[in-house]
C-alpha cells in the first residue's frame, strides 16, 4: 500500500478522536485529501493557504541561507580569521564552508525552536478548540529566526514565541483573526523583555557575548564586538561599511535582514506571484524617502547642530535608510502580511506610506529603539482597520453623491 493510501486509512481511524485536527494537518501537508465534493458550483484554485504560505517561505529562503553565511562571516571577520569582502557579491571571502558551518549550527536551532514551540501551540489549540490546524504559523515560524540577533538564548526565543502565538494570535481566534503581526509581536516581546539581548554591540556577532564573559573570567582573548549601522549612527560613531556592503548585506544585524539585494529579489518574487502587495512595498519606500528627505533638509538648513544626538541619523542620506536596519525586510515580508495590513487598495497606499514615514521618525528621534520599522508596522497594524473603514465610507459617500446627481 502506498503512503498515500495508508494515510487515508489512518485518517478514517482518527476521524472521531480528538486528535483528528492534528492528524489532518500533517496529512494535508503531504497529500490532497481524498474526499471529493458533490453537486453545486465550485471554484477550483491551486493557491490554498498552505501554498500561499509556502510561496512566502520560498521567497525568504535566500535570506536565510545568506544569513547563515553572514553569521559565520561576521564572526570570522571579528576574530580576525579572514579579510573583509573585496570583490562584490560573489567574494570568495564570504561564500566559504567555514562561514556557513558556523552560521548553520547557530541558526538551525533557532529555526527548530521557533517551529517546534509555535506549531506545538497551534496543534494544542486545535485539539482543545476542536478545529483544524491552521497554517498561519508556517510563515511566522520562518520569519522569527530571521529577525532576531544570532546570539539570542534559545529559551528566550521559546518564551517569546509562546507569548506571541498565544497572546498575539490565538486569543483573537487564531490565523486570520489577529490584529498584530505575530512575528513582530514576538520580536517586540523580546525587545522589551530582554533588551540587553536585542540591542548593543555584543549580540549581533556570533559568540561575542560568550567571549566577553570569558575575558571577564580571565581568558586571554581579544574582545569582539559588532555594532549595527543604525546603532553606530545613533551614538554618532563611525562605521566601516560601504554602501555596497549595506546593499549586498555584509553587515552585522539580525539573522536574515541584512541583504537588501536578496530581500528585493524575494519581494519581486512575491509581487510576481501576486502574494505580496506591491502597493504596500512601494508606498513604504516612498514614506521612508519623504521622511529621510525632510530630515536631510533640516540638517542642510542648519536647524540641528552637529553636536546634537540626532545629527548622525538625520544626516544619513535619505536613501541609505532603505538599505540599513530591518526596513527592507519589514516592508517586504511583514508589512505585506495580508491579515494585518489594510485590505483596500487606497488604504494600502496610506498604510504603507505611514509605515515608512514613522519608521524613519522613530529611528531618528528615539535612539533607544534603533529599529523603528518594527514599532511602525505594529502601530499601523492597529490602525489598518480604521484606515479601511474611512476608505470604504469615502467610497460609499462618493457613490451616493453620484446616485443623487443622477436622480436629480
Amino acid at each position: 500500500m502506498s503512503l498515500k493510501n495508508k494515510l487515508h486509512v489512518l485518517k478514517e481511524k482518527y476521524k472521531s478522536t480528538k486528535y483528528a485536527p492534528a492528524f489532518n494537518a500533517l496529512h494535508t501537508f503531504l497529500y490532497l485529501p481524498n474526499e471529493t465534493t458533490h453537486g453545486g458550483t465550485h471554484v477550483k484554485a491551486a493557491d490554498d493557504l498552505k501554498r500561499t504560505m509556502n510561496t512566502v517561505i520560498m521567497a525568504m529562503i535566500p535570506c536565510l541561507i545568506f544569513g547563515m553565511f553572514n553569521a559565520g562571516y561576521q564572526h570570522n571577520l571579528a576574530v580576525g580569521e579572514i579579510q573583509a569582502v573585496s570583490s562584490g557579491f560573489f567574494s570568495s571571502e564570504f561564500w566559504t564552508l567555514a562561514n556557513f558551518a558556523i552560521g548553520f549550527w547557530k541558526i538551525l536551532p533557532l529555526v527548530i525552536v521557533s517551529y517546534g514551540v509555535g506549531l506545538g501551540i497551534e496543534f494544542l489549540f486545535a485539539i482543545i478548540k476542536k478545529h483544524e490546524v491552521e497554517e498561519g504559523y508556517l510563515v511566522t515560524g520562518m520569519l522569527v529566526p530571521l529577525i532576531v540577533p544570532i546570539d539570542i538564548p534559545l529559551w528566550m526565543l521559546a518564551v517569546a514565541v509562546a507569548f506571541g502565538v498565544v497572546i498575539g494570535k490565538e486569543v483573537f481566534g487564531g490565523t486570520g483573526m489577529n490584529i498584530l503581526n505575530p512575528a513582530l509581536t514576538i520580536r517586540a516581546f523580546l525587545f522589551f523583555a530582554y533588551p540587553t539581548w536585542m540591542s548593543g554591540d555584543k549580540v549581533w556577532v556570533e559568540s561575542a557575548v560568550e567571549r566577553t564573559n570569558e575575558i571577564a573570567a580571565g581568558a586571554n582573548l581579544d574582545a569582539i564586538s559588532g555594532e549595527t549601522i543604525l546603532g553606530s549612527l545613533a551614538q554618532g560613531k563611525e562605521f566601516a561599511f560601504s554602501v555596497s556592503d549595506m546593499f549586498l548585506g555584509f553587515i552585522p544585524g539580525s539573522v536574515g535582514e541584512t541583504s537588501t539585494l536578496l530581500i528585493l529579489l524575494g519581494g519581486l518574487f512575491l509581487i510576481f506571484t501576486k502574494i505580496g502587495s506591491w502597493r504596500i512595498m512601494l508606498s513604504s519606500a516612498l514614506g521612508a524617502i519623504v521622511m529621510g528627505l525632510i530630515f536631510n533638509q533640516v540638517v542642510d538648513a542648519g536647524i540641528i547642530a552637529e553636536g546634537s544626538k540626532f545629527y548622525g541619523l538625520m544626516n544619513t542620506p535619505f536613501w541609505h535608510h532603505l538599505l540599513i536596519g530591518g526596513f527592507a525586510f519589514g516592508t517586504v515580508f511583514m508589512a505585506t502580511d495580508p491579515v494585518t495590513a489594510s485590505q483596500t487598495n487606497k488604504g494600502k497606499w496610506i498604510y504603507g506610506f505611514l509605515i515608512g514615514f514613522i519608521s524613519i521618525l522613530i529611528r531618528v528621534f528615539n535612539p533607544a529603539y534603533p529599529e523603528g520599522v518594527m514599532l511602525a508596522i505594529l502601530l499601523m497594524n492597529v490602525f489598518a482597520p480604521t484606515i479601511d473603514h474611512y476608505v470604504v465610507q469615502g467610497n460609499v459617500k462618493k457613490r451616493m453623491k453620484r446616485l443623487k446627481a443622477k436622480v436629480a
Binding site: F192, P195, T196
Partner: protein
C-alpha cells in the same frame, strides 16, 4: 456559623469570583495597571481600598435617607476624599518609602470607579451592615486580582517577592540565574499588567462559561 446569614455571606463571596469588580465589571483597571509591578504595593493598595470602601459604604448607607438625591455625587465624593486623605496621611507617616512608590495613586483612589460604583449601586439602597459586607467583599475581589497580578509581575519581572530574592541573585548569578535565566523587563511595564489581567479574565471565563457575554 451564626455570624453571617447565607445572604450576607454571598455579599462577600460573590465579588471574589463570579461578580469580580475587575475581571467581570471591568472597573478599577487604572490602578491595577499602575501599581502592580511590586507585590507589596499591590497589597497596600488592596488594604487601602478595603478601608475606604468598607467605611465609605457604611457612612453613605447611614446617610442614605438624608442625602438629597440631586447632590448625592458631591456628598459621596466628600466622603471618599476624607477617607482617602486619612489613608494617605497614615501611609506618609508610617511608611514613607511605600507612599512614594504609590505616589498619586493613593490620591486617585477617589476616582476608582469601584468605590463610586458601590456607593451608587449598593450603599444608597441598603443598611449599614450589609453595605459594610458589600464594601469589604468588593474590595477583596479587587485586592485578590491586584495581588495575583502583582505576584506574577514581581516574580517574573524582578525575580523577587515582597523584596526577597526568591529566584537567586541576578548580579552574583546564584539560583536560577546561574543557568542563564534572566528577568523579564516587559513584566515591569504597564502593558503587561493589562495582559495578565486579560489572562485571568480568559481563564476565569473558560472555567465558567456562564460568564461569557455575547
Amino acid at each position: 456559623m451564626g455570624l453571617l446569614s447565607k445572604k450576607d455571606a454571598k455579599l462577600i463571596t460573590d465579588p471574589l469570583a463570579d461578580n469580580n469588580p475587575i475581571t467581570i465589571q471591568v472597573l478599577g483597571i487604572c490602578s491595577a495597571l499602575a501599581i502592580t509591578a511590586q507585590l507589596k504595593a499591590s497589597i497596600v493598595m488592596a488594604v487601602s481600598v478595603m478601608f475606604v470602601l468598607g467605611i465609605g459604604n457604611v457612612v453613605i448607607s447611614l446617610m442614605r435617607n438624608i442625602i438629597p438625591s440631586k447632590i448625592r455625587i458631591i456628598v459621596q465624593l466628600v466622603v471618599v476624599a476624607a477617607l482617602v486623605i486619612i489613608v494617605d496621611q497614615v501611609l506618609k507617616a508610617f511608611s514613607y518609602e511605600l507612599s512614594k512608590t504609590l505616589s498619586v495613586f493613593v490620591g486617585l483612589i477617589i476616582t476608582n470607579c469601584i468605590i463610586m460604583g458601590r456607593f451608587e449601586a449598593f450603599a444608597l439602597g441598603n443598611g449599614p451592615w450589609k453595605s459594610f459586607l458589600d464594601g469589604i467583599g468588593n474590595a477583596l475581589g479587587y485586592g485578590i486580582i491586584l495581588i495575583i497580578v502583582g505576584f506574577f509581575r514581581e516574580l517574573l519581572g524582578s525575580g523577587t517577592l515582597l523584596g526577597f530574592k526568591v529566584l537567586g541573585d541576578p548580579i552574583e548569578k546564584t539560583g536560577l540565574y546561574a543557568i542563564g535565566y534572566e528577568n523579564n523587563g516587559f513584566m515591569l511595564l504597564s502593558p503587561m499588567a493589562l495582559i495578565v489581567v486579560g489572562i485571568i479574565i480568559w481563564v476565569q471565563r473558560s472555567r465558567n462559561k456562564a460568564l461569557i457575554e455575547d
